[in-house]
Symmetry: C2
Subunit: 353 residues, 2 copies
């Protein structure tokens, strides 16, 4: 318990619902806390209405009042234990000077991706990115004000490799071959770029915490693209540095698909690890011990089943995961999911224990 800062401890004790923080803090809880990746989004009617009222996804991301609205909707609509600030991992590349657009049904496109080591020179990094991210911090302040002490707020960022992958590939990809080519062709410059992304991300998550985020989750969405050796060389040192810099705030690391690196995660400073629906708890426990909290790992496609089946699956997963567990999906909720099924899942978790 002593590794949390005292001032944080006081804040967390004041929340009406602090089961998520209890779990991350090592305090026993009588059921797992529950929230849902992408809970604030297309599955909810309020979100869809707000999304229609703006010109595009990026306008929404930069509108603090709307962000607060969208962030808080899942609290009353789904009954989750904590909201996660609605945002985008790509705000960091943009703040560093690599702009992007979101194309409907296609995803992100970067008109000027990084194509050579010289492109790294022009990037903004470290605390210099913060001015360009004021809208995020203002969104946190507004969300916290409306929460008025009812629940803690989760903030997030992309892990450096995932941002590196987008900044070089210039879009989503099945293989991220351009980004991986860069690692092999320019190993030193790859470290330089990872280092700049990390310094920007560190400044960003620190400022998120200063603005009121109570928990930070790092998403490494494309970690599954790399071999264990490359993940060790190009990713782990930067993830550890970011996590180290925010010690005192509960940290969740979600290295999607990086199963072969799980044995290496014992040295990453964190309170919880997120795992997808293909990752058995036993495998994580074998390599990372009994104490680390595991977050996940219901298959988001399971929510297409009927509510009775969902209730049984919740019970099965909860039994499998054991006590050190935050209930969540193993991936963001799919956009065509019936919100009532998500609610059934949340209710099933809440009736456990």
């Amino acid at each position: 318990m002593n590794y949390f800062r005292a001032e944080f401890f006081d804040v967390y004790m004041s929340y009406h619902n602090n089961i998520l923080l209890d779990k991350l803090h090592g305090v026993p809880t009588d059921r797992p806390p529950v929230w849902v990746m992408r809970q604030a989004g297309r599955i909810l009617p309020g979100y869809r209405q707000i999304r229609k009222s703006v010109s595009g996804f990026k306008e929404l991301v930069k509108s603090p009042d709307l962000i607060a609205e969208v962030t808080l909707e899942p609290l009353h609509e789904l009954g989750v234990d904590a909201p996660i600030l609605f945002s985008d991992i790509l705000v960091i590349p943009e703040a560093m000077g690599v702009d992007y657009d979101i194309i409907e049904k296609q995803g992100p496109k970067f008109p000027n991706p990084i194509t050579s080591p010289a492109d790294i020179d022009r990037l903004v990094y470290g605390e210099d990115v913060l001015d360009r991210l004021d809208y995020v911090f203002e969104s946190i302040t507004k969300t916290k004000a409306r929460l008025s002490g009812s629940n803690p707020l989760i903030g997030f960022a992309g892990a450096p490799w995932t941002l590196f992958a987008y900044m070089i590939e210039g879009s989503g990809s099945k293989t991220f071959a351009k980004a991986r080519r860069f690692l092999y062709e320019h190993p030193k410059d790859s470290h330089r770029l990872m280092s700049r992304i990390s310094s920007a991300t560190t400044a960003y998550v620190k400022q998120k915490i200063a603005s009121g985020a109570d928990v930070i989750q790092l998403f490494d969405s494309w970690s599954g693209m790399l071999s264990r050796a490359q993940y060790q060389e190009f990713c782990l040192p930067y993830i550890s540095a970011i996590m180290e810099a925010i010690e005192g705030t509960p940290r969740i690391f979600f290295p999607k698909g990086a199963w072969s690196s799980i044995p290496d995660f014992g040295d990453v400073p964190m309170e919880a690890i997120g795992v997808d629906w293909r990752t058995p708890a036993s495998y994580v426990r074998e390599h990372l011990g009994e104490d680390l909290v595991i977050q996940g790992n219901m298959d988001p496609a399971f929510l297409y089943s009927d509510p009775d089946a969902i209730q049984s699956e919740v019970a099965r997963i909860s039994k499998d995961m054991g006590n050190q567990h935050i209930f969540n999906l193993g991936h963001g909720v799919y956009p065509d999911t019936d919100a009532n099924h998500v609610k059934a899942m949340v209710q099933a978790v809440k009736s456990l224990g």
Copy 2:
């Protein structure tokens, strides 16, 4: 050795280069055999010229003389130990009555995918698909004639789940959520569809062997989408049935990304398992023993490195994989790879041992 049919044994002994069959047959070899997934394709100049001479990818797939040409090009251009018949896993859905197009830079699109259990009724399956696949068998005959006993020929098919995923999703996908939804919403009909795909695939690979294919590889490209429990229920019985039906011919199973199911593969009848570049040999050996041949697993992005680095990586992988090993990439070669680098990899393997 006794599990190979005698008539097959006679054929295989007659090849000039039979190192691949030796390895799959349990006969010691002084170096690993080597071939490359997608070796016959865009990295080679002859292929690109032939591709330009036809109206589309599907016309090429249905032109036996061109197929023979394209299939054999990597033998002399890259020096691999065996050719793999150029084809497409989606010829089976098409023969079953679910037609598709290949859209440039997008991939396959199915104008009439399976959207309900009733759609399964109209499918052609079992041996009834064979008439519609004559062009594949003719391609094998022509390729074998031109090989005139120099090397064995690899044939392949998609595993049932991967074909199921395309037939329901109607295209490629990051999540295959529609196909996975079908599994949860219609489990019985999912088994019925898997069973029909399996019967068609079994008839198909048997006829491929009868036409002259010496080795069969089953690609389960989307196996990594499913949890271990779903893979056990919906996939393994069908894969085992297909493999069982062609006992006597060497079988390679490539379950891409299905790492959590590796402990279950001990019961699948096969001579070799393909693994991607994220899968350590030690993990496979731990679960499947020392005898099974492992195929793979160089990162295709490593081929962007210079030839000296490629040579070192070949030596490292070969040492890691041990003796029961077929050298290959852990995924199809990327289309922008320099063919000279692939050649350097092949030469490095050939100079081992």
